[in-house]
Amino acid sequence: MIRCALLLILSITTTAFGAVTVGSKSFNESVILGEIAAQSIRANRIEASHRRQLGGTRVLFDALLRGDIDVYPEYTGTIEQEILNGQPLASFASRGISMTRPLGFNNTYAIGVRTDLAQRLGLKTISDLRKYPELTFGFTNEFMDRKDGWPALRGAYHLPQANVTGLDHDLAYRALASGSIDVTDLYSTDAEIAYYKLVILDDDLHHFPRYDAVYLFRSDLNPIAVAAIKRLEGTISQAQMIQMNAQAKLQRVPEAQVASNFLATLGIRTIPLRETNAQQILQRTREHLFLVGVSLLAAIFAGIPLGIIAYVLPRIGQLILIVIAAIYTIPSLALLVFMIPLLGIGAWPAIVALFLYSLLPIVRNTHEGLREIPASLRESARALGLTPIAQLSQIELPLALGPILAGIKTSAVINVGTATLGALIGAGGYGQPILTGIRLDNVALILQGAVPAALMALAAQGLFDLLERLVMPRGLRLQPEHL
């Protein structure tokens, strides 16, 4: 009886709340934490999907506010500096956002040394470095420049070392392993810490801000799902997180499997969802075609009339051309992010951004193509007594067909390439494997997105070349020796 009642309540709550969407940022740890949340929610018989690697903080937090996602992993330091920006944490409540307690590890800037060196010199804390001024420091360029980076660290700990160089993050690990530098900055849960057998020195003066991992979630989230992610509070140690990052990045274990393995240690049984490569590529192709197809078609249907208006009404035309050129100068990534507050995440904001991006070549070529028609032909059409509409439809547009088609072709090729960025706001497509590949430093995965994208661009080009042959009147293709 009680069980029946419980089941009833359960089914009511699940139907009332619907499926849960978990988001994650485009780096390994965030994706693993997103996967852990999604799987533990699923373990409670609530449908949950994971929209992985959606851009950065701004994208995720806006999506959470809009309700496009319900949960995502975040860090206390980021919340303080990038999201709250001086506002009190209590302001979350009024915006319908809640936060779990820390999951257990702190992923902040850290100072690392090789284990053998640390043992030999007895290095345990950053303060210990003061005793060895002869050590060579190699910091990432970003850390050298940041306010809270090397200059502040040196001041706080009175570090005497003079031998300090800036270098690339990946190079820093190799330099450390080969012994050409002794000390570097890193993130305290980097996969490489385990791989290169590094030791993190304790920040004994608490110089670096804390970046405790937490989940942010919507306050209206299904209580069962809330319980499921709260269950994860305090369960992930620094060593475990490093281990999981290493598995995903260095051993190329799928994140879903990494998450599932971790949840098993907590006694939570999950089955990671997996797709075959072929299914994935097919799915990505479908998504990419959808993004490109819809946005390009819309750009053609809007662009050609805009180009005609620009030609017929030169004054308004100037304005149209300026506005469209201005849109074009917005970096594509920024344009995508601008769309989020208006349209959320997913395919539609990406389609709108791609549409705006594709307009310029079409509008400009239509306008130019019409303007470049020789005056003698334009006058001949008028002198015949054709109505303005007939002049446009029977003479001017056919004569401008070449430039118009060329504009559409340019738009299509740009569109196919730019659409890969759509993955950053959850639009899917070929950008998805590219992002994953960059994140996991996996060239094969990058190629899984880049090669089909290049092929699709070539196919678009070929298609429009063919179309040009089919629709261009033969008279225009003949090289007039003199007309």
Partner: protein, 248 residues
Amino acid sequence: MLRCIDVFKHYHDIDALRGVTLDIAPGRTTVLIGPSGCGKSTLIRMMIGLIQPDQGRVLFADVPITPANVLALRRRMGYVIQEGGLFPHLTARANVTLMARHLRWNRQAIQQRITELADLVQLPLAMLDHFPAELSGGQRQRVSLMRALMLDPDVLLLDEPLGALDPMIRFDLQNDLRRIFQRLRKTVVLVTHDIGEAAFFGDMIVLMRDGRIVQQGSLEELLHHPADAFVDRFITAQRSPLESLEPT
């Protein structure tokens, strides 16, 4: 048929026409002639309503040409320009029949008219399936003339129609054109800068300079009673060198 009454036209800093009054006699050929920049092209384009006068009026069959009636009036005029102005994306036939199709003539009427016109301008019918780029300069002008005559207009306006042709083709086409004009008995206005051509075609020659008409009349009148020294010079300057070789 066509009347210009005290028309003025000003472009940027050029006065193209400075008070021109001209009556085009019906059923005859009037030639507008003068040095380049004299306003002859501006005047003929004003007659078909491509240009509006800043001042003065242009009347077609006693009706002032206005934006409201210009479309209808243009369909009663045929217009041929230098190098034809044929639309390169249409075949010769489609160029010729464009307006008739626009006005929804029936196929038979169109076909009949095409056959008549091809015969008139002496163009083999097979040529009509070619695109302008596939035709010679002379053939293009013949097609252009067919297009201008398709709706059987009252007036034929030709702006340097033979200007871009080489001498032999030009000679043939001159003869054909004159024969056509004589046969059709239409009102024709022709612009040229060549006095020989003017004399060959013109019942009436209108000599222009700097946006004004200097003198109008037959070649005889211009030759023997020049209105001023310019008329005399203009005609003498173009006298054929062959004439000086003729035995006196």
